[in-house]
Structures are given as structure tokens and as C-alpha cells.
Amino acid sequence: MADDKSARVAPVVVTLPPALVKLFPGSTRQVALPASSVAEMIDALDARWPGMRDRLCDSTPAIRRHINIFVAGERARLMTQLAPGAEVAILTAISGG
């Protein structure tokens, strides 16, 4: 059963990067979740796929340095607010060698 908070918050649509989806069997590239901020969105992702928060955020706490989260075309932070129905894209940044 959804908790009271989830029932009150309108869903946002989140697109996950392929490299993240591969790490969590059963996860999908696109998911609708109730969230009014990026932090809440990550809470919801972690509740659905335990451990996903650690892949997206470090213990600072902050979004990981090589993970980009875009909301309405703008790079977001954990505190960024999400409007009902917002489209959120999580991208792996240029990295590696």
C-alpha cells in the first residue's frame, strides 16, 4: 500500500541510463514515480530497486560527480524541485578511459 506521502505527490517520469539499468535486474529505462524533488525521486528509486541510491549519490551527500540529472533541460541538484509530471533524465557523464 502506498504511504500517505506517495499518494499526495504527483508522479514524475524518470529515464535511467542503460549502464544503471544493467546493474539492477528488473529495472526499466523509464519509470513513473511520485516525487516533488530530486532527493525524493532518488528515495523512490531506491525503494523500488534497493541500492540504486548508492549508485547515483555519494555520502557527501550529493549526486555523484559523473552522474548528471537533467530536469527540463537544466542540470539539477538533490534539492531541485520537481513539478507534477516533470520529465527527468539521468545520464552517465563523460568519464573513463
Binding site: A19, L20, K22, L23, G51, D54, R55, L56, D58, S59, T60, P61, R64, R65, H66, I67, T92, A93, S95, G96
Partner: protein, 360 residues
């Protein structure tokens, strides 16, 4: 019963497994595993047959990977593998040591974690980072990393760790308190008169002699050493070796006097095998005498190094010896180093080599 010999290889782009039977004459290779994450240490638990991999990915952070089916499938977790909010976050897992009841993990920036549920969740062993010397810990070339974990074979409360470049530390109370164990190890990179400090040594690798918990061997940035008192005092064993520099050390599975080293030409000369000729060096008498083992290894134009966790032995008789190069080649000996052959080429940079022998 027939045996399966697995060589577990951690690389900059995933884990690989080489497999053979007890003859160790022909090998099959599989991988890459762990979604091609950089894997600093892949190790098997001989009691359970479980394989663990420690690493860190630039996108997704540090994690411990786990396979309970000899590499066919893997899970990952970093639950609890974190410092307090506000501290520099953990970048990667550098070393793993599964014990009878408890497993330990060393991480970057240097710190120690323990797991009592087979790596599913982790707890910070805060006593180490509470050591008053911590503000003086300086990163080595590989970062500020806890790379060597040596557990006492009978006393679960005792553990030695190697931190680059803070040195060796020992706990006798399960990690609550720690003492530096660096007396006698040199810091050539410090001014004259200051080269034997209490901490700050650039330890590269520490290993324990089998059946002799008092005897430790160490490959340091500045020399090779043996200790006969659990690291309280170290004595140089570099005489007879071609340099004082190298990274890995591996002990024989049964003979406490036998040690394998792989000296490189020096820290300012490229860190290749000396004269571009590869050799593993073996002592049978605790470092008093050394023999270069070259048969089957490249003896010209070999410009590779071998990293600190990239050499290992197996438990068979005669024991196998294995090392992996920075250029992605894996060499194996089935006769305690007397002869060698290359069993894998063109792998990514090899960070670690371990073995696991299971019933076939």
C-alpha cells in the same frame, strides 16, 4: 577428488577467470565480469567457494561484487560502505579479505570496513581512522589506499593493514585500537636523518608466512623486509635482489621460508622489470638467498610492471605461481616458479591476481 584451479583476475575493465585442472597445463578464459567496472581485487573464499570483487566505477562509486556460482552470475552491494556525511566519499574498494566469520574491505580514501553477512552490508571500523596519525597520512601514486589486509590465522581480533603511504598498522582488539608497525622500514624519499619515522612509510604489499603468524614479509617502495615478530621490527632482505623497488609479494602455501617477489627497476626508471627481462625472484630461506626464475618469461623488450596485488600462489603441490602485468598478460608456473608460460594476453591492465581451488 579432481580439482578445478581458478585464477581470479581483477582488471581496469572487469574481472576475468582463468580455469584449469590440477595439472595446470591448459587454461580456459572467461569474462569480463562485473559490468567491466574497474576491479582492484578479486578474491575467492576457500571455505565457501564464493568469489568477491572489490572496485569502483567513476559513474557509480564503490561496491563489493559477489558470485556464488564461480563467476556465472554476480550481485553487488555497497550498503553501509560509506563515511559520515561531509567526509570525502569512498572512491573504490581496494582489498578484500574473507575470514571464517567476518570479512574485511579496505577502501580509498584509506579506511577499513567489516561485514558479518558475506558482503551484503558493511560497517565502518572507525578505530583505524581515529588513529592520531591520520592527518599525516599522505596518498601514494595509487591514491590514499588501504591495500593490504592480513588476518591472524587463529585470532580473529588480530589484523594487519597496509596503507599507502601511512605504513603498516596492527590491531589486537578487532579494530578498536591500532599501533603502527613500521620500525626498520625506510623512507628514502625523506631527508637524511628522518628516514625511519613511526608512520609515513610507502608499504606496497604485506603477506604472512603460512603456519607462522609471527612472520610477515613486506615489499615496500624502499626495500624488501621480513619481520619475525608480527611487524614490530622489520629487517631488510633486499641484498641479492636487482633493485629495492617492486610491488607484489606472494608466499608459498606451506613453506614459511619461501617467498616470491617481482622487483622492478626502480621508482624513477620507468618501473619496468630490470633490463626489460622478466623474472620472479624466489627465496627458500626467508630472504637470505635469492634465485631469479626466468624460464619461459620474456627476456627482451619486456617493458611492463606488475602491480601490488597482481601475484599469487595456489595451494597445490607443487604450488602454482601466477602474476599479471600492467600490459594485460597473465603468466603461470605449475612448478613453484621454475618454468613459466603465458596463459592470457591482451587483457586490460591487471590489478589483482588470486587463486581458488575447488573440488571438480
Amino acid at each position: 577428488m579432481a580439482k578445478r584451479v581458478l585464477v581470479l583476475v581483477g582488471t581496469k575493465k572487469g574481472a576475468f577467470i582463468l580455469e584449469s585442472d590440477a595439472a595446470r597445463s591448459s587454461w580456459t578464459q572467461r569474462g569480463p565480469y562485473c559490468e567491466t567496472w574497474p576491479m582492484n581485487h578479486v578474491i575467492g573464499d576457500p571455505a565457501s567457494g564464493t568469489i568477491y570483487g572489490g572496485g569502483g566505477n567513476e559513474w557509480f562509486g564503490a561496491a563489493v561484487w559477489k558470485s556464488e556460482d564461480l563467476g556465472k552470475s554476480w550481485t553487488h552491494s555497497s550498503a553501509g560502505l560509506a563515511y559520515a556525511a561531509g567526509e570525502t566519499p569512498i572512491k573504490s574498494v581496494w582489498s578484500l579479505s574473507p575470514g571464517a566469520k567476518r570479512m574485511h574491505a579496505g577502501v580509498e580514501p584509506a579506511g577499513l570496513f567489516q561485514s558479518d553477512d558475506g558482503g551484503q552490508s558493511w560497517e565502518h571500523v572507525a578505530g583505524l581512522r581515529d588513529h592520531p596519525s591520520r592527518p599525516q597520512w599522505q596518498p601514494g601514486g595509487g591514491g590514499l589506499i588501504l591495500h593490504s589486509l592480513v588476518r591472524h590465522p587463529q585470532d580473529e581480533q588480530q589484523l594487519w593493514v597496509g596503507i599507502s603511504s601511512a605504513g603498516v598498522f596492527h590491531t589486537a582488539d578487532g579494530g578498536a585500537s591500532w599501533e603502527p608497525r613500521n620500525q626498520g622500514t625506510r623512507c628514502d624519499f625523506l631527508p637524511e636523518g628522518q628516514r625511519y619515522p613511526e608512520i609515513g612509510q610507502c608499504v606496497h604489499c604485506i603477506v604472512m608466512a603460512p603456519g607462522a603468524a609471527h612472520r610477515l614479509y613486506q615489499q615496500n617502495h624502499c626495500g624488501m623486509y621480513v619481520s619475525e615478530d608480527g611487524g614490530e621490527h622489520w629487517n631488510s632482505i633486499e641484498a641479492g635482489l636487482p633493485s629495492s623497488f617492486g610491488f607484489p609479494a606472494a608466499v608459498h602455501p606451506r613453506d614459511p621460508a619461501t617467498l616470491f617477489l617481482l622487483p622492478l627497476n626502480g621508482d624513477i626508471k620507468g618501473r619496468f622489470v630490470p633490463d626489460a627481462k622478466a623474472a620472479v625472484w624466489r627465496t627458500r630461506d626467508c630472504g637470505d638467498h635469492w634465485k631469479a626464475l626466468r624460464q619461459g618469461l620474456p627476456q627482451e623488450n619486456a617493458y611492463f610492471g606488475v602491480l601490488r596485488q597482481a601475484m599469487a600462489t595456489d595451494i597445490l603441490a607443487p604450488c602454482g605461481v601466477y602474476f599479471g602485468t600492467g600490459t594485460g598478460s597473465l603468466y603461470a608456473s605449475a612448478d613453484e616458479g621454475d618454468t613459466w608460460k603465458c596463459i592470457a594476453r591482451h587483457l586490460p591492465t591487471i590489478s589483482s591476481v588470486e587463486t581458488l581451488v575447488v573440488d571438480g
